[in-house]
């Protein structure tokens, strides 16, 4: 009897262990994704970043070369070399190209988060130093033409304009893209200013940068100011020289001989009274179709779903609020989306 009891205990023990393992395995597989990139070899990972777990090309069956790690934490043996064939004057080995990567460096805002987009999708983020400089490396690229873009957010959460640059990446080499200079952020203290009063134009850029503020009217006015140690700048513009009506302002920064592009242009009116303006919205003003404060592949997909179709009553509202409101989805709507893109 005790033997049957022992058998039953063993059986239930094994089954119990299986249940625990099967229940846990779901969590483990979920964790694997998030752990890849932490530099440690976790369950299911062959490597992680520069941590190759002591493996080399020779342990992977190659004769020489450099083993590296893919972004999905699997070995990249493309730079490993296989030995050539034997007798009869056999052929030489095939030497695969080395790592294909790109390094980006430049200036943003002090301690701001810089986001790098690769072909319009977020590929990396970095925190700029207190001197506003940043650097980031992107591995696992192929040889070919890429459109990279960077943007940053200032201390108030205001997003810069997207700075794009096409780069031709050479297979087996590291390309260096330096001198990136993200345009300043910009805001105004009044949405309407009484003619003759001052309007404050402010934002963030590089520490001690020379900021040029442009105000458009029939003729364009320019003014200069110096940002403080945190990159914050303020320029008071006297509106006496402006006509009544709508105007735009934008800014750019210069430091150590480098000049940024102009920021986004923001509008204000010159009228008969002063109306305070809030800070620019943190979410994109347009094109965010699913209201998640991002303009990315999901929004593109929603718009693409309605491309060349009769749009639904539901989508008519979105088209009016967040696209061009012409009752159809066409290239113009996608262009608006591409302008407000965040990745």
């Amino acid at each position: 009897m005790s033997k049957y009891l022992l058998f039953a205990t063993v059986l239930f023990g094994v089954l119990g262990a299986y249940f625990v393992v099967s229940a846990v395995s779901v969590n483990v597989s979920a964790d694997v994704q998030s752990l890849c990139g932490n530099g440690n070899i976790d369950s299911g990972e062959q490597c992680d970043g520069s941590n190759l777990n002591g493996k080399t090309c020779s342990t992977q069956g190659f004769s020489a070369g450099t083993l590296s790690c893919n972004s999905n934490c699997t070995f990249n043996t493309s730079a490993c070399t296989s030995g050539g064939g034997g007798g009869g004057g056999g052929g030489g080995g095939y030497t695969a190209p080395a790592e294909t990567a790109a390094v980006f460096s430049g200036r943003a805002y002090p301690k701001s988060t810089v986001t790098l987009l690769k072909d319009a999708q977020i590929a990396a983020t970095a925190i700029a130093g207190s001197d506003s400089t940043f650097s980031m490396k992107l591995s696992g690229l192929s040889g070919g033409n890429y459109i990279f873009a960077v943007y940053s957010e200032d201390s108030k959460g205001i997003r810069s304009s997207l700075l794009t640059f096409p780069v031709s990446v050479t297979s087996g080499a590291t390309s260096y893209v330096s001198g990136i200079f993200i345009a300043p952020t910009i805001a105004v203290d009044k949405s309407e200013v009484k003619r003759g009063d001052n309007i404050a134009i402010f934002g963030q850029s590089v520490p001690n940068g020379e900021i040029t503020v442009a105000v458009s009217s029939e003729e364009e006015f320019f003014g200069k100011t110096i940002a403080d140690q945190n990159g914050i700048y303020l320029y008071n513009f006297d509106t006496v020289q402006l006509d009544m009506g709508q105007h735009f302002t934008k800014s750019k920064a210069a430091r150590d001989g480098a000049i940024s592009s102009f920021s986004k242009a923001i509008s204000f009116a010159v009228g008969t009274k002063n109306v305070a303006a809030g800070l620019p919205a943190k979410c994109p003003a347009k094109a965010d179709l699913n209201s998640d404060c991002k303009v990315n592949l999901v929004d593109f997909s929603i718009a693409a779903y309605w491309y060349k179709r009769t749009i639904s009553a539901e989508f008519v509202v979105k088209d009016g609020e967040r696209l061009n409101g012409d009752g159809k989805v066409d290239l113009v709507d996608f262009s608006i989306m591409a302008y407000y893109w965040t990745g």
Partner: protein, 300 residues
Amino acid sequence: MRQVLYKILFAFSLGLILPQIVFAAQISFDAKTTQAQVGKNFEVTLFVNTEQENLNAFEGKVTFPNALLDLKEIRDGNTIVNFWIEKPKAQDNAIIFSGVTPGGFNGSSGLIFSAIFEAKKEGVAKFEVNDARILRNDGIGSTAVLSITPFEMVISKGAQVEIPAIQKIEDREQPELFMPEIARDKSISDGEWFIAFVTQDKVSGIDHYEIKESRQKILTFFSRWRVAESPYILQDQELRSYIFIKAVDKAGNERIAEILPQNPLRWYENYENWIILIVIAVIFASGAKKILWRKRGARI
């Protein structure tokens, strides 16, 4: 007197038109040669020169004489277009294309796509771009001034000059890593969950995507891939399935992205677990039976 007036008017009109022509974005074709041979292939590439403007949306229709040419292949591996609204494809004796570059493109030789043709018979093949539209990266999608330069290819039976061979693409690389996103929106299919995905292949270009959904991970092996386009309305609206998206490039290389179920099955809901349990139970039962038979035999 009238002639002088006409000349002044002509000069004045030219003065108005010229600046627009000078600063217009240009769409042009390029090929290694302007001569082709009957029965041989040649490649024609479509480029955009933005003339210092930042442009983010491109569309048009490339026409070619169907009687003289046979379209063999379209290559878009190195395009400046990040998202195709309409991937370049043959339609009504033309190649239509429409796409965007988020953030815009500003450059003198932005490759849109290239096409490989086989020359069928002698003649002059003229390539044109119709219904072309290029939009500025200005937040309102204003139309950029555009100038289009047509292209002619002289096709002869015998080779007048040496015609360079088309570079064969040797693509051993998988499409790039990608991260599909699951989302839903009231405006799409009554708020059903969909999955959005896109990736690039810099060598040969993406050919197509395939998808499969399965609540069982091991048995997913037996389920079939279906060709899919983004956005794809998910079959499992309870999000209890593993989702696999396969990107296939034009050389047949594949990259699979796996999405774990957002609401995974409990262990007892997954019949894979019951199959394993039963197998274990059967093994134990047969083992126990053997032990019992041996002991009974020993007693006898």
